[in-house]
Symmetry: C2
C-alpha cells in the first residue's frame, strides 16, 4: 500500500477548518474528495494539525494511504487540478508505511501576526489581528514570550472543554519580532505539540502584556494558575499560520 505525505498551503479564510464538518467546506473534505476520484473509492486523509476555521497554513502536512500505484508528482498535479486556488499541494512524496502526519510529528511551528497601526493594509486584512491602538509594547511581549520556552503545563492556554491525556508541552522557540512593514508584530512558536487554541490564547495573553495591563512576568503566574480564566482572550483565527511540521529524518 503506497503511503503519501502531502505538504499543503492554504488561505483558511473561506474554510470551516481542517476537519470535515456536516456543513461548509473543509480542507480535509476537499482533499479526500479529490483523492477519492484518483483512488476510485473513499479515502481518509490525516492532517498533522487540525487547524480551526480561518486559520492559514504555509506548511501543513497530511498523510494518505492509497491502494493505487501512482507517481508522487502526478498525484500532486492531479489533486491540485481539482482543488480551489486557495488550497495547494506544494509537495507530495511517497513515505514508509508507518508514517502518519499527526502521530509521527515531532514538532510544529506556528506564526501569529498582529497589525498594530491605525490603518490596516487591504492586502493584510485576512491575515492579521488588527489592533489599531494603543501602540503595543513589543519588547515586553518578547520578554514574556521568552519566559514560555521549555517544558510546562500549558492548561491555562487550552480551550475550555478540550480533552487531552496530558497538558504538558515543550516550546523550543518562543519569540516576538517586528515585521518589515510598520506596525507588524509577529509571534513565532515552535513546540513538541500544541493544545487546542494554545497559540491563540498565548497571543491574546501576550497582547494583554503589550497593552501594559500586566508586566512580562505575569505570564509566569498565568502558567502556574493552570486556569484558562486567568489568561488573556483567544486571539482571532485570521492571524494564525501553521508554518511547518517537523518529523524524524528517518520518516522522510
Amino acid at each position: 500500500v503506497p503511503n503519501f505525505r502531502l505538504t499543503l498551503s492554504y488561505d483558511g479564510t473561506d474554510f470551516v477548518g481542517w476537519q470535515r464538518q456536516a456543513q461548509g467546506v473543509s480542507i480535509q473534505g476537499l482533499l479526500e474528495d479529490a483523492l477519492a476520484v484518483l483512488e476510485g473509492a473513499p479515502v481518509t486523509v490525516f492532517g498533522a494539525g487540525r487547524t480551526d476555521a480561518g486559520v492559514h497554513a504555509l506548511g501543513q502536512v497530511a498523510s494518505v494511504a492509497l491502494t493505487r500505484s501512482i507517481d508522487a508528482a502526478t498525484l500532486r498535479r492531479a489533486v491540485n487540478a481539482s482543488l480551489p486556488a486557495s488550497l495547494r499541494v506544494l509537495d507530495a512524496c511517497e513515505v514508509p508505511d508507518g508514517f502518519h502526519a499527526r502521530f509521527s510529528a515531532t514538532s510544529k511551528s506556528y506564526r501569529y501576526r498582529i497589525w498594530n497601526a491605525e490603518v490596516l493594509s487591504p492586502f493584510e486584512c485576512r491575515f492579521v489581528w488588527h489592533i489599531p491602538s494603543p501602540s503595543l509594547d513589543a519588547e515586553a511581549m518578547g520578554e514574556a514570550a521568552a519566559r514560555l520556552k521549555g517544558r510546562h503545563d500549558f492548561s491555562a492556554f487550552q480551550a475550555a472543554g478540550a480533552d487531552t491525556r496530558t497538558t504538558e508541552r515543550e516550546l523550543f522557540k518562543s519569540s516576538v519580532s517586528l515585521g518589515d512593514a510598520a506596525g507588524l508584530i509577529t509571534l513565532e512558536l515552535t513546540g513538541s505539540g500544541f493544545l487546542r487554541h494554545m497559540v491563540r490564547s498565548l497571543a491574546g495573553t501576550l497582547v494583554e502584556i503589550g497593552r501594559r495591563r500586566h508586566p512580562a512576568t505575569w505570564i509566569d503566574e498565568v502558567l502556574a494558575s493552570k486556569s484558562r480564566a486567568s489568561a488573556g482572550p483567544t486571539a482571532p483565527a485570521a492571524g494564525l499560520f501553521l508554518v511547518r511540521v517537523g518529523y524524524e529524518t528517518a520518516d522522510l
Copy 2:
C-alpha cells in the same frame, strides 16, 4: 475651498476598476459616496491613474475639493470607517488649490508580478500572472526591459481604440528582478506617464522574450513598428500594481 490629497491602497480583485461605471463597485464610486456623506452634497474625486478592473494599488493618489472645513486625519478616519477593508485611505493631507491628482503628477511607478513555478501559492493567486512553464529567461527579459528606458513613442503598447494626444512617454526606470519567493519575477517601471494597457502590454511582450520566442533586441523592433499587432499579448490585470505617484515637491 480646502483641497485634499488622498493616498490609497486597494486589492483590485473585486472592483470594476478606478472609474465609476453603470454596473459594479468602483474605487472612485466608493470614495465619492463616502465623501458625499461628509460634504452633505455630491463630490468628484480625481484619481492619478485610472486603474482597470482587477488592478491593485499600493499608493494610488486621489484629489478632492470639499467646501466643508475638516481636519485631514478626521477625514481619513471617517472615510475609512465607511469603506470596505479591501480599500483604504493610507494618508490624507490638505494641499494647495491647484493640486490635481492626475494633472499635477510628474511620474508613476508600476509593478508587474509573474509567478513562474508549477504550484501557485494560495496567498499569491490574486496578485500574479501564473505562468507554470516554461521556466522564463528572466535575464533576457531584464535586458529587453532596460532597452525601454528613455523617451519613446510607445504606440505599439497602447490598447486598441485609445485616444491620446501623444503616444510619447519617458521611462526613468525599467527593470526585471527575481523575488524572494522561488518563481517570482517582478517588472518595475517608473515613467512620466503611461498609455492605456501599456504596462500590461509591455509585460506580455517581455514574457514572449522570456519564453525564448524572440531575442531581447526584438523589443526595439516592436517599439519601432508602432503597431499593437507586433507586440505580445496584454498580460492579466491581477499581476499589476500601481505603486507610487510622484509630484513636484512644491505641490506636496
